[in-house]
């Protein structure tokens, strides 16, 4: 139980830190961006929008800000005025979940598998070539790879559309044309995220597995004459994936950062693209809400990783 409470405490502190950063950053900046902003917009905006700014920067204390957020009041968007921030965010969210969520999980699962096999087949040509290759690809800038993909597969070859999440001429909804069209639009951004994110998982899983392979229980499994695949999965793999799950959770913040840029390059109608739009338009209420959302998403993913760890590791289960 202590373990669960400690974890919950960690989530609360992290959330609090994110909210406070949101609250403090505009006030700590030289020249006080908040006051400058208020002055700039006075007289140019209607009272409602001004109120949105007040919520974000005004005289309200941290606690009031916290209270508003807890009730889901993120204010009004300037970019999509007079729509509320909450409504805008809810529109963009499914796109990002479908693209970034699916590809991140895919990268993790595939990368973990390749890393395991690579460590198992240590010293073979496959294992000799993979790690250096992925060390290099994991140093690629996401956005640059996205540009490269657009140039090659849409400008030169014309296989996939260069930007957007769907063809604007189709009707949005659960019909075949729309679904297949949006899938077609998601191939390039998904591939970009996959290629850049997978390297890290391959490398860490490979290294974990190599360490686990020196454990006595792996030698014991060999001594028992178990089939190699059984040793690889339930003895090496299941133990090596435990630290990788923690690593997965810990590095999600980085992955999300890269995914934002991919959405930006592809003009993909998700949270990341909207985030950068809000920065461009100085729509601070929307920007802050999105930053919080991204933090919460990362925390939820960590929670999922915690649950998965507890499921795979009986020792953690007991501590909880």
């Amino acid at each position: 139980m202590r373990f669960v409470f400690r974890r919950l405490g960690f989530f609360v502190v992290t959330l609090w830190a994110a909210v406070t950063l949101n609250f403090l950053i505009p006030r700590l900046m030289p020249g006080n961006a908040a006051i400058a902003m208020m002055a700039r917009y006075k007289g140019r905006l209607n009272p409602q929008a001004l109120h949105a700014l007040e919520i974000a920067f005004g005289v309200n204390a941290d606690l009031i800000y916290l209270g508003n957020i807890a009730r889901g009041h993120f204010g009004t968007s300037l970019t999509f005025f007079p729509d509320t921030v909450a409504h805008q965010v809810l529109q963009a969210l499914p796109w990002t979940l479908a693209l970034v969520g699916v590809t991140t999980v895919m990268a993790f699962v595939l990368g973990t598998f390749i890393g395991l096999v690579s460590a198992w087949r240590r010293g073979t040509a496959l294992d000799g070539a993979l790690p250096p290759l992925f060390v290099i690809t994991s140093a690629f800038p996401y956005f640059w790879l996205a540009l490269l993909a657009i140039w090659l597969f849409s400008i030169k070859l014309g296989w996939f559309p260069p930007s957007g999440g769907y063809d604007v001429t189709t009707t949005v909804g659960w019909n075949w044309t729309f679904v297949s069209d949006s899938l077609n639009h998601s191939v390039l951004p998904a591939a970009t995220i996959l290629v850049t994110a997978i390297g890290g998982w391959i490398l860490t899983m490979r290294n974990n597995t190599i360490t686990v392979l020196t454990e006595d229980y792996v030698r014991m499994a060999r001594a028992k004459g178990l089939k190699p695949w059984r040793i690889m999965w339930t003895y090496a793999g299941r133990n090596a994936i435990l630290p990788n799950l923690v690593g997965f959770a810990m590095s999600l913040g980085f992955v999300v950062g890269g995914a934002i840029l991919v959405e930006y390059v592809f003009n993909y109608p998700g949270v990341g693209w909207m985030f950068l739009q809000s920065v461009e338009n100085q729509d601070y209420a929307l920007m802050q809400a999105l930053f919080l959302l991204i933090t919460v998403a990362v925390l939820l993913a960590i929670l999922a990783a915690d649950v998965a760890t507890a499921f795979l590791d009986p020792r953690t289960r007991e501590r909880g």
Binding site: F10, T14, A17, L21, I25, M29, P30, A33, G123, P131, P132, A139, F140, P141, F143, W144, L147, W151, L203, N207, I210, T211, L213, T214, E215, D216, Y217, M220, R222, A223, K224, G225, L226, K227, R230, T234, Y235, R238, N239, M250, L252, G253, F254, V256, G257, G258, L261, V279, Q282, Y284, M287, F291, I294, T295, V298, I302, L312, P314, R315, E318
Partner: protein, 663 residues
């Protein structure tokens, strides 16, 4: 043996022995040999090469770039040519010159952010790990929170308020947010170091904490600190380029990210100015790759398990294989080991961990193998069981292991699998490590049964309970996880597992050393009872001679990879022939005999990489004469026993490389 050797790990059988205490050895490796390790690592060399190239570009851009990067003097949008290697921009500037001049900023960002993040990471990580308690709690919480908060969006938020902020603002923000990953690793490394002897010694000496941290802890973590610097540098290069690309940097600065920003704004890719849009990314990727390759190499250097070493058999005496006479196995022996040799690969060449060892084991016999740690006894038994592999990563370089008439050395892994566990099983030192922590005892018994029989689920369950009862464990514990059992129960459970198929041979590697004296005793009694009841033969490895005194039929004393003495247990105890055996006997108290002064053996076993020229025990032997230091003694037969010592030369003829039958 085609097993790849991954040596230099836990027990490289004498590789570190004789070069000072283990801590001393690790410390030296971490600090001084770093340069040599980098020079021997291909990935590290590639990384260093890339980085050096960029350093040259950053230092002398004026000499290398053909043009002023801002001179808008050419035709816009030119393709690549001899003068314009990568064409021109939409503004008529030379792309290559811009790239060269942009290097300086990216490299500077990488180095400054890497440095700042590393300093913070070291201070926070080491203090958290070393000071512990509340300090650790608070610092770790801060570290985790910063690690988890999505840094890139946060930087964007900051940059959004502080638009076009200068170069140093960027460095400080990236540095302040990028230290947490390194700090986490440094903390856990410090934690593991804290209880080491050399730190305690420093504290006992009365050194100040700050002195201990700077002089004792930091040098041992050199490679980890370098790794955290390189990791932060990669992240800085990527994030800075990303920020500049989306227009949150200074649009007038000379950097690769800014180039990408302008290229994107002018739709360079669509407009045919391909190199303008692509080359800055290539440079970012190459710089990042340089740091990442070096980082990866350091990872390998700091954890030796990741390094793959091939054993070079040159230098290892490979002639022994022909020296083994072809002779049919004796039917009353279940196992005959003939001239078995095992070697490890090490940084300094092959290490012979088992040197031409021969012995025989009768059916139902109990053989004890004793010797100090790192004398090769574990390597020997794992070589016999064909279980070498990291961390005991030796290769059999010669000899035969005839088990029930078949040579185990030449069996393929597939053939071995069929006889493993059915015909011989293994019990290891610590069940805590030898049982898979994520499977229940029942699971681990079941997979062995499924691998070798067609028993039904019910039958497997019944058999599992039956063997648990054999070792006096209540079958209710069958579905427990290893960590739920007590130490003694775990060892018994492992022995129960070894009995599943009632094999004819059980190899036991110090199965009791994880237990207290009382537990050891009762487990020994139980093993002996089971052995007499079920009739299996036992090879029992231990460093404690008194433990096997009343249980083993014969004793094999190993010293520095060789057989020192082999004989009937009773005889060895009553009249030890080898001075080393005498020393071992004097090192352990007798349970029944009168009070004696324990002598022990002065000195340490030799470094097997460079064994002494003569008798390997000579440097520590009270009876050594000049001859012992130059001429290696053979095995001599004395009253049916074998001993490797010149003292007994006149007593009998030397045994021709010990291949004759042993009584």
């Amino acid at each position: 043996m085609s097993l790849p050797s991954v040596a230099d790990s836990v027990r490289p059988a004498g590789a570190t022995v004789g070069s000072g205490p283990p801590e001393e050895a690790t410390r030296r490796t971490a600090g001084g040999d770093l340069f040599r390790a980098v020079a021997h690592n291909r990935k590290a060399l590639a990384g260093v090469g890339l980085l050096l190239g960029f350093v040259v570009l950053a230092l002398f851009p004026g000499q290398i770039a053909p043009d002023d990067p801002r001179a808008k003097i050419y035709t816009p949008g030119l393709g690549p040519s001899w003068h314009h290697l990568f064409g021109t921009t939409a503004y008529g500037e030379d792309v290559f010159s811009q790239l060269v001049w942009g290097t300086r900023q990216s490299l500077l960002i990488a180095v400054l952010v890497g440095g700042l993040a590393t300093v913070i990471g070291v201070v926070v990580g080491v203090s958290a790990g070393y000071l512990g308690g509340t300090t650790d709690g608070i610092l770790s919480l801060i570290t985790d929170v910063i690690l988890v908060i999505p840094i890139f969006p946060l930087i964007i938020v900051i940059a959004a308020y502080e638009r076009n902020s200068g170069f140093f603002m960027l460095v400080i923000v990236l540095g302040l947010l990028g230290w947490s990953y390194g700090a986490r690793q440094l903390r856990s490394q410090t934690l593991s170091l804290r209880t080491r002897d050399f730190l305690e010694a420093a504290l006992v000496r009365g050194e100040r904490k700050s002195y201990v941290i700077v002089k004792e802890i930091l040098p041992t973590m050199t490679s980890l600190i370098v790794a955290s610097f390189l990791g932060a540098a990669v992240y800085a290069v990527l994030f800075a380029a990303g920020l500049q690309f989306i227009g949150l940097g200074d649009p007038n600065s000379q950097s690769w990210g800014t180039m990408l920003y302008w290229a994107e704004n002018n739709e360079a890719l669509g407009a045919g100015m391909t190199y303008w849009a692509i080359m800055p990314g290539v440079f970012v990727a190459l710089l990042g790759a340089g740091f990442a390759l070096l980082n990866y190499a350091f990872d390998e250097i700091s954890s030796p398990a990741l390094r793959l070493r091939k054993l070079e058999t040159t230098g290892v005496d490979a002639e022994q294989e022909t020296a083994v006479p072809i002779r049919p196995p004796d039917q009353k022996n279940i196992l005959e080991v003939r001239d078995l040799s095992v070697a490890y690969a090490s940084d300094h060449g092959p290490v012979v961990a088992v040197d031409r060892v021969s012995f025989e084991l009768g059916r139902g016999e109990f053989l004890g193998i004793v010797g100090e740690s790192a004398c090769g006894k574990s390597t020997l038994v794992y070589a016999i069981a064909r279980l070498l592999g990291a961390p005991l990563a030796g290769e059999i370089t010669g000899g035969q292991v005839l088990f029930k008439g078949r040579d185990m050395v030449t069996l393929a892994e597939k053939e071995l699998r069929h006889i493993r566990w059915r015909d011989y099983s293994v019990v290891m030192q610590s069940a805590m490590n030898a049982l898979n922590p994520v499977l229940t005892v029942a699971d681990q018994m079941r997979d062995a049964c499924e691998a070798h029989s067609t028993m039904s689920k019910r039958e497997i369950e019944e058999r599992s309970k039956e063997v648990l009862r054999l070792v006096s464990i209540d079958p209710v514990h069958l579905h427990s996880y290893p960590h739920q059992l007590s130490g003694g129960m775990r060892q018994r459970a492992m022995i129960a597992m070894a009995l599943l198929f009632t094999p004819e041979l059980i190899v036991m590697d110090e199965p009791t050393s994880a237990l207290d004296v009382v537990g050891q005793r009762s487990l020994m009694v139980q093993i002996k009872e089971l052995q007499e009841r079920l009739g299996f033969a036992v090879i029992f490895v231990t460093h404690d001679m008194s433990l096997v005194r009343h249980f083993s039929n014969r004793l094999l004393v190993m010293y520095a990879a060789q057989v020192a003495e082999l004989g009937q247990t009773r005889q060895v105890f009553a009249r030890p022939l080898h001075p080393y055996t005498t020393g071992l006997l004097e090192a352990f108290p007798s349970i029944h005999g009168p009070k004696e002064h324990l002598l022990g053996i002065p000195g340490q076993p030799p470094d097997l990489l460079r064994p002494p020229a003569g008798c390997r025990f000579a440097p520590r032997c009270p009876h050594a004469v000049d001859r012992c230091r130059v001429e290696p003694p053979a095995l001599y037969r004395v009253d049916g026993e074998l001993v490797r010592c010149f003292l007994h030369e006149q007593a009998e003829e030397p045994v021709a490389v010990s291949t004759e039958g042993v009584a």
